[in-house]
């Protein structure tokens, strides 16, 4: 132990470790179908529980409420409503963003859940605002959540 006051953390004897950890996350059956529909058909799909009569977005193969197996796919439309939003002013490193980024949880009519995404083409946002998905051009789509560029205000 040093008896002198250390003022710079890197003056304490240390070893820098770096965790190399890369993963490939497969989408699974529900994810494959969901992102294929987005990429190829610009459709946002949910899946309905026959027992609970709830449509889940994002889709999954099992019901979180009753544990039933889910197989009935439903198109929930491209338009939704801002359930909640926030405006981030810093990035993950704590640096100030030049342009604040609006994030929202968008819920779709008749569905449980929704999608968390960016809001674009506006600086004004409020809870209850109607929004619509803006898809990237087909050539730029990769079957990812970012195939939706953002949601924009819908008339």
């Amino acid at each position: 132990m040093s008896l002198e006051k250390i003022t710079n953390p890197f003056d304490a004897r240390h070893w820098i470790g770096h965790m190399e950890a890369e993963y490939r996350y497969t989408l699974g059956i529900a994810g494959e179908r969901f992102f294929k529909e987005i990429k190829e058909n610009e459709r946002i799909m949910g899946v309905k529980c026959p027992k609970c009569e709830v449509v889940f977005v994002p889709p999954r193969l099992y019901c979180e409420k009753c544990f039933a197996k889910l197989e009935e796919w439903v198109d929930v439309g491209k338009r939704g409503e801002v359930y909640t939003y926030t405006i981030a002013t810093i990035d993950i490193d704590g640096k100030r963003l030049e342009k604040p980024q609006i994030y929202a949880l968008i819920k779709f009519d008749g569905a449980c859940g929704g999608l968390i995404h960016r809001i674009g083409e506006t600086e004004k946002v409020y809870i209850g605002m109607k929004v619509e998905a803006v898809f990237k051009p087909p050539s730029e789509r990769k079957a990812s959540i970012n195939d939706i560029a953002y949601f924009k205000p819908a008339e």
Partner: protein, 385 residues
């Protein structure tokens, strides 16, 4: 079945940074204090089981549990790790003793947050890799999303959230285990930078380093080791869906169900009346209010008003976070739950110094695993068996 008591506690920290001690030395110091506090037990022969609580990513190790025995006196003894908050370790210790097979169990949890150079990347790695992570950004935007909807649905105000910060940071000044005690004004909180609207910079707890070790014992051993046992009257825990999209955004149901589980065992019908004070997870200021409601300390949407009226202040009718909370003590990562339990133990023993609450018999400790989780745990403790 036998009753279970906390018979010893040891805490080192909490401090913004701990350069001179390695994580092992931090654990060793806390363990020495705890064993001393538990009537001077020898961990090499007087402890039946050791439970440590740690998450590999926060430690910078794969299989971190292999690195914990020596500094606790637990080498070649019966030890395992719970990959979660310290309060889940406490619940595990409680259950082990309740089986009747074990009399003395040690629980440990720590934070060496200052060793983590890319903490936010680890938090970010907790997000769903398919639906959420590709959107990028600082993961605390999820707290901004939640706070906004919570305020919208409950009519809680930004001032009421800011009041939590003023209260907790002030309480922390009197707590030697707190890293971030301060006299801040409501205006200072409200005028601090809005990082994730409506969440402001001073409403976000800052990580801190520290370690807490606790010794739990069965009734028959407890009364031999200490004349100030603190009885564990009930524990509970719960996890909601990981899906941010479908979970409840305003009611912290994971906490509600964890509390109901603990209250049932403890025989608590009316928590505000039957319990004297609470330590509640306040990683973000609004979470203290949301959790108060989930813990049934008040009606949905009422916590902000009670806070504004001073009922949860140190000198109020039902003090919340007399320790200074995580906003004042510092966010101890997986040790958060034990930070809460520690304060409840000190208060129930009458050892909380100038922040001591008068005439207390029962206290509530609550924890949450932070963004982006929906996992909570609750413990009800009492100095009366």
């Amino acid at each position: 079945m036998c009753e279970v008591a906390i018979v010893g506690v040891g805490c080192v920290g909490f401090r913004p940074i701990t350069l001179e001690l390695s994580y092992k030395e931090l654990m060793f110091e806390a363990a020495v204090k705890a064993y001393e506090d538990a009537g001077g037990i020898d961990p090499r022969k007087d402890v039946d089981v050791f439970v440590t609580c740690a998450e590999d990513y926060l430690e910078g190790f794969s299989i971190f549990d292999e690195f914990v025995p020596d500094q606790l006196g637990a080498a070649l003894r019966h030890l395992f790790t719970v990959s979660g908050d310290g309060m889940l370790g406490l619940a595990t210790a409680y259950m082990l003793i309740k089986t009747g097979h074990f009399d003395t169990v040690v629980v440990e949890a720590h934070s060496k947050a200052s060793d983590i150079l890319t903490y936010m990347d680890i938090v970010n790695f907790g997000l769903d890799p398919i639906f959420n992570r590709p959107l990028g950004g600082h993961p605390y935007y999820i707290a901004g999303l939640e706070m906004n909807r919570y305020l919208h649905d409950t009519c809680t105000t930004e001032e009421q959230c800011a009041q939590v910060v003023v209260k907790n940071k002030k309480n922390a000044i009197a707590n030697p285990y707190a890293a971030y005690g301060a006299d801040v004004t409501l205006d200072q909180v409200l005028c601090s930078k809005t990082l994730f609207h409506p969440l402001k910079k001073l409403e976000i707890s800052t990580p801190a380093d520290g370690c807490i070790v606790m010794v739990l014992a069965s009734e028959k051993v407890a009364e031999k080791l200490t004349d100030k046992p603190v009885w564990v009257k009930g524990v509970g825990w719960c996890t909601e869906t990981p899906s941010l999209e479908t979970r409840d955004w305003t009611r912290a149901i994971y906490t509600r169900l964890a509390a109901e589980m603990a209250y049932k065992t403890a025989g608590i019908a009316n928590p505000w009346r039957d319990i004297d004070f609470a330590e509640i997870h306040d990683m973000f200021a609004y979470k203290e209010l949301q959790h108060m409601e989930a813990l049934k300390l008040c009606d949905y949407g009422e916590a902000g008003k009670l806070t504004e009226e001073g009922l949860t202040a140190l000198e109020g009718e039902f003090p919340v976070n007399a320790s200074g909370g995580l906003l004042g003590m510092g966010f101890g990562l997986e040790a958060s739950g034990l930070q809460k339990v520690l304060e409840v133990v000190l208060q129930l023993r009458g050892e909380a110094g100038s922040r001591q609450i008068e005439d207390v018999e029962a206290g509530l400790a609550h924890t949450w695993r932070g963004i982006p989780t929906a996992t909570g745990a609750v413990a009800v403790l009492s100095n009366v068996k």
